[in-house]
């Protein structure tokens, strides 16, 4: 049943709305800058962004789906957002950058969790994992019920990031 809700949210476009809202709510507050949803982005399995963090999601309402929430982008874009949060710019793809991207993804997953709870999907969140420079992501070949959005953060260099959610029946 729960996975059917995810599929319905995906086809109706409401999942995209939820993800966009979650991204704005989290990033605007954290960065103190306007966040614009530029449009839908690709699911990242075949062509993941250079830096990407994923949070696994477990259906706790007994319906049965597995899912992930992700945040990804080019390193310079990720570094610009991390710099605002940390007060200093990470040096390349160092631990500071990875920590910031993991934590941002965790926060975004929490926001998406809240939106999905409003339509009856109860989810538990796992620990975020950062993946560097992957050519592809093997997180479940059939994580096809999902959506992603590309957002632009109103910082001086206008960084763009992708945020998404995808699920499969378990």
């Amino acid at each position: 049943m729960s996975h059917a809700i995810v599929q319905e949210l995906t086809t109706s476009g409401r999942l995209v709305e939820f993800i966009g809202q979650a991204a704005r709510e989290a990033l605007e507050l954290l960065c103190g800058a306007e966040v614009t949803v530029l449009g839908e982005a690709e699911l990242p399995w075949a062509h993941p962004p250079v830096g990407i963090a994923l949070v696994t999601v477990v259906d706790t309402s007994g319906g049965g789906f597995q899912a992930v929430v992700w945040l990804g982008g080019e390193l310079e874009a990720l570094a610009s957002v991390a710099e605002v949060l940390l007060g200093e710019r990470p040096d390349g793809e160092d631990e500071m950058l990875q920590d910031a991207v993991r934590e941002l993804t965790n926060i975004l997953a929490g926001q998406i969790q809240r939106h999905l709870a409003s339509v009856g999907l109860q989810m538990g969140l796992g620990l975020p994992v950062y993946v560097s420079g992957a050519k592809s992501l093997n997180v479940g070949a059939s994580l096809a019920s999902g959506a992603a959005v590309r957002v632009q953060v109103g910082l001086p260099d206008q960084p763009t990031l992708d945020v998404g959610f995808a699920a499969k029946e378990s």
Binding site: G87, D99, I107, G110, Q113, Q122, L125, L127
Partner: protein
Amino acid sequence: MLKVLIADDSKMMRVMHVRSLRQVGYEVEATEANNGEEALAAFEPGKFDLVIVDWNMPGMDGVEFVRAAREKEQGTGKRTPILMITSQSTEEQMLKAKEAGVDNLLTKPVTPEALGAALEMLLARA
């Protein structure tokens, strides 16, 4: 001087919590812990004015830490205010945190003002 124990596996969040507390006017002496085990090793009844703890951490998580910290306090007559700041936001999860001994729970992201208001209430009750 506010003596605060901050347990979060994210260095960024620990930095942000200290910065937020300073922004709303507190002088802060922070002890940082990367997970529940480190936090429990640092925690002693009456040693801190406040504990800020995340829920999702590798190893001992925030709820397990809070249960263990409250056990440490039993019989001492002391109760340190514990504020959980977490991404977990369902009612069931909030209830579980409160049952473990969390005094207040805020959902990330948290503004300095929201943190200050929550802290003011907690310290007034302490």
